[in-house]
């Protein structure tokens, strides 16, 4: 059983990270009341975390390859524990926002190094099993986060959602010390600072542009300015990578059709998953469920993800990734189509169940299959880069999905309300973006959860 201890250490850290990502969504109204925070401050409690994750995920994977994945994982756990304590004792919104930024730094490094640690620790059939279990834990964490957050906030205080991280971080650090040995890239490679800076600008401005597009519109000056900055950053990033002796992203991977197809599958799967943000919003705003009940209504999806990930992990070694990833995307597509055909303005929450189960199965098959395919496409000493690239594309898919589907969701709500209420436009605004809880759902779920 000792061989599975590294998996326990990684799953514990990942579970905490993903729960913490979604838990804040539910606690947001309490935080607003407790700290007397404005709506824009509450938005920044979400945005800062999302932006830091977007800016640093790829870099963190590459730095992990260079400095040692075990060392970076331990450091990220320490940063996450410290920043969680700071969040818990925050006397005002400013400190909470700064602490959430620090949490994002720890979270980015933790997420990519945990995946890379699994990729370098296990091989063959064991790697498939490890990826399956890890993916199922992430799927469950994403689903139980809101329920867990609601229970903690209601029974204790919003501060409790941050306090619980500290003992979990400490236990994970001890386990990591015991069961991992260090692994890293060649000593000749050095940190690619120009790449880190230009990628942070590109990814950060692109993600913030997508957030603003969802709120201000795609043609607002700020949105277009952010997209222009992202484009400039991307050009500078490519130039920096071509000149650096040990670039943080191996650009030759971008000429590999197979690797690009794996990344496209990551974007499409994350996009499909982002539609759940609006399912949650529909459950709360239209069906009238509380955030906790909406979280409970989404639990069947988590159960399907858990089962599918565990089963897929066991047979990954024998089946081609072409088959598993294609099957996963077909399931996600069919699940979304079922929801599209079944759900309408008068549906009850049970109408979403069949679609949720099929989407959950698709996500469950796809996550371990994609992770395994990425690790098989890059040399083991660049496992951090591979997991960083995958996490970055997944985040891009979710941010893009939330921004684009947000427009469609608002349009559908408005059409549905037209003629039924006096002012359909303002009613639509209330249902889609007018409340902190709603904003929370929209933004917080845009981080790379599943």
């Amino acid at each position: 059983m000792r061989k599975w201890l590294p998996l326990v250490a990684v799953c514990l850290g990942s579970f905490m990270l993903i729960v913490d990502t979604t838990v804040v969504t539910v606690a947001l109204p309490e935080i607003g009341t407790g700290l007397d925070a404005s709506l824009s401050s509450l938005q920044w409690v979400m945005n800062i975390y999302t932006l830091v994750l977007a800016a640093l995920t790829l870099s963190a994977g590459s730095v992990g390859d260079l400095l040692g994945r075990r060392k970076v994982y331990l450091l990220s756990l320490a940063v996450f524990a410290g920043s969680s304590l700071l969040c818990a004792v925050a006397p005002g919104a400013g400190v909470l926002i700064a602490a959430r930024g620090l949490q994002g730094i720890g979270g980015a490094a933790m997420f990519v190094t945990s995946m890379a640690l699994l990729g370098t620790t296990y091989e063959g059939k064991d790697r498939g099993v490890a990826m399956g279990v890890w993916s199922s834990v992430i799927g469950v964490a994403a689903a139980v986060g809101p329920v867990f957050g609601g229970l903690l906030t209601e029974s204790m205080s919003w501060r409790a959602i941050f306090y619980v991280n500290i003992p979990i971080c400490l236990v994970t650090m001890v386990l990591t010390k015991i069961c991992f040995t260090e692994s890293r890239q060649s000593a000749n490679a050095r940190i690619d600072f120009p790449g880190i800076i230009t990628f942070a600008i590109t990814s950060g401005t692109l993600t913030y542009g997508l957030i603003r597009a969802g709120e201000d519109g795609w043609t607002s000056g700020l949105t277009l300015g952010l997209f222009a900055l992202a484009l400039l950053g991307a050009v500078l990033f490519v130039l920096a990578e071509r000149r650096h002796p040990s670039p943080m992203l191996d650009l030759s991977l971008m000429r590999d059709a197979s690797f690009l197809a794996i990344m496209l599958s990551t974007i499409a799967s994350a996009w499909g998953f982002s539609s759940l943000v609006f399912t949650s919003l529909w459950l709360q705003s239209v069906v009238g469920l509380t955030p906790i009940k909406a979280g409970l209504a989404l639990l069947p999806l988590a159960a399907a993800t858990f089962l599918a990930s565990t089963l897929t992990g066991k047979c990954l070694h024998e089946v081609s990734p072409r088959v598993t990833i294609t099957a996963a995307l077909v399931l996600v597509g069919v699940g979304c189509a079922i929801n599209g055909l079944v759900i309408d303005g008068d549906s009850s929450w049970t109408a979403a169940l069949p679609g949720l189960l099929v989407i959950g199965a698709g996500v469950g098959v796809g996550m371990p299959a994609t992770a395994s395919a990425v690790f098989a496409s890059v040399p083991p000493q660049r496992a951090g880069m591979g997991s960083g690239a995958m996490a970055t594309f997944r985040q891009l898919g979710q941010a893009l999905g939330v921004a684009v589907l947000g427009l469609v969701f608002a349009h559908v709500i408005r059409e549905d309300l037209d003629g039924k209420v006096a002012d359909a436009a303002s009613a639509e605004n209330t249902l889609t973006s007018g409340r902190p809880t709603t904003l929370g759902v929209l933004h917080e779920r845009s981080v790379p959860t599943v």
């Binding site: 799967s269 990734p321 990833i325 077909v330 699940g335 189509a337």
Partner: protein, 40 residues
């Protein structure tokens, strides 16, 4: 909204079926747990 997501997923499924190698490029042997991989 759901139908747009379904369309994208099915397009991506077609791309993965066409482009992902049957077996990804063979990578060098990965180290097992507790087996140091220090390259230094």
């Amino acid at each position: 909204m759901y139908l747009a997501s379904a369309g994208l997923a099915l397009v991506a499924a077609t791309a993965t079926a066409a482009f992902i190698r049957k077996r990804p490029q063979a990578a060098p042997e990965a180290p097992a747990a507790k087996a140091p991989t220090e390259a230094r």
